[in-house]
């Protein structure tokens, strides 16, 4: 019997591309974009995507009453946060003049500095948009079959700074070295978009679908 995978729906972000990519790597699974608490509770795994601004994202989570469902899922089943779905797990973001986040992973979210030197005599562009390498700083089942230093697709202006170094699973350099993947027990969360990262991204999603922490 196929497993159930819930893609959390809170009205923001490109949820379709996330669900399509998961369906592609897990054709036997039942993938549902949903904010239904019962369905999320019954799901075998939860994917938490996200885009846009921190404050809008937190407001939308509130409006869809997903706060509790997210906390339960993080504690009980394989959970994959993507992009804003990583950032809102932390305590606090600098975005929108300061935004309180879910506080599931201790730490904060900060903006790239404006004046970081880039190439061809130009400053680094913000947002960080495009394909950057992810250094696998700790072994993890979700990295299986993905070469260390593989490139993934990123689009973001803010990055996470977790308090505890040991939760960092991947590091990327863009003016600064920042945590691009976090791992803790059954939680894995990435700043990049695996659903848009061609083969490396699909492999990570496939690893997630088969992950039994």
């Amino acid at each position: 019997m196929g497993q159930k995978i819930a893609v959390l729906d809170y009205g923001l972000g490109n949820l379709r591309s996330v669900s399509k990519a998961i369906e592609h790597v897990a054709p036997e699974a039942e993938v549902r974009v949903t904010d239904d608490h019962d369905w999320i509770r019954a799901a075998d795994r939860v994917v938490f995507p996200g885009q846009g601004a921190a404050r809008d994202c937190m407001a939308a989570i509130g409006e869809h009453h997903l706060n509790q469902a997210i906390r339960e899922a993080v504690q009980s089943k394989p959970f994959l946060g993507i992009c804003m779905g990583l950032q809102v797990l932390l305590d606090f973001s600098e975005e929108n003049a300061g935004t309180e986040l879910l506080g599931i992973v201790p730490g904060r979210v900060v903006r790239f500095a404006d004046d970081m030197p880039g190439e061809n005599e130009l400053p680094l562009k913000i947002p960080h948009m495009g394909w950057s390498r992810v250094e696998q700083v700790q072994p993890h089942p979700l990295w299986e079959g993905i070469e260390d230093g593989s490139r993934f697709y990123f689009v973001h202006s803010y990055y996470v700074v977790p308090d505890e170094e040991e939760v960092v699973a991947g590091v990327t350099e863009y003016g600064v070295r920042f945590a691009s993947a976090l791992a803790r027990e059954n939680l894995f969360a990435v700043q990049f978009h695996p659903e848009k990262s061609a083969d490396a991204g699909l492999r990570l999603l496939k690893n997630f679908v088969g992950w039994n922490p």
Partner: protein, 257 residues
Amino acid sequence: MGLAKRIIPCLDVDAGRVVKGVKFVEIRDAGDPVEIARRYNEEGADEITFLDITASSDERETMVHVVEQVASEVFIPLTVGGGIRKVEDVRRMLMAGADKVAINTAAVFNPEFVREAADRFGSQCIVVAIDAKRVSGEGEPLRWEIFTHGGRKPTGIDALEWARKMADYGAGEILLTSMDRDGTKIGFDNELNRAVAEAVPVPLIASGGVGNLQHLVEGITLGGADAVLAASIFHFGEYTIGEAKRYMAEHGIEVRL
């Protein structure tokens, strides 16, 4: 190790079919956007841009289906431009599976639309497409103006000021086409590219004039672009995306291989 410079093939779509003849030997149906997108993905394209050139509005809906189909098979960023005039158009494309929309003429007539779309969906999915033409004469300081309707209508708006304004209004990226170079195959207008790259803090996609692989390199080294967009050199099988990337890598440009 830094960010890879992106190579973006661009496809014109008319009523759901790719036009301007794509000639790949192994392709069964050169008009099928899904098949072509799949092929570019396999070759290592970093993104794909579809430009909807459908003239009649009742056939516009077909673009939504094209995006849906491509998005369920090709897992790299997809941008859709052409006919994006209202917030509802943006939403429809994003729901269909596009990652970004390119807004061109509508931004010129109603700049607030860019702000509204960026506020609603995030800057990461709003690309502002700018068609610029050189208007300065010989010996005068360089100056470019914005043209609309495929480069036919002048607006009198200064290209650099416009690019700055659009970034300020929330554009996450600028897609800059030189109307002087588009279709010429003599290379980008890299003075234009460089001027815009220096004027805006957001990434720049250079477009218009690519005829060989050296032109792609120059767009980045001289023009300061973050990504290069090209159509015909890839469509007619002159070069594969892989060849383009290897050439760029040999010339010291970081690419995703």
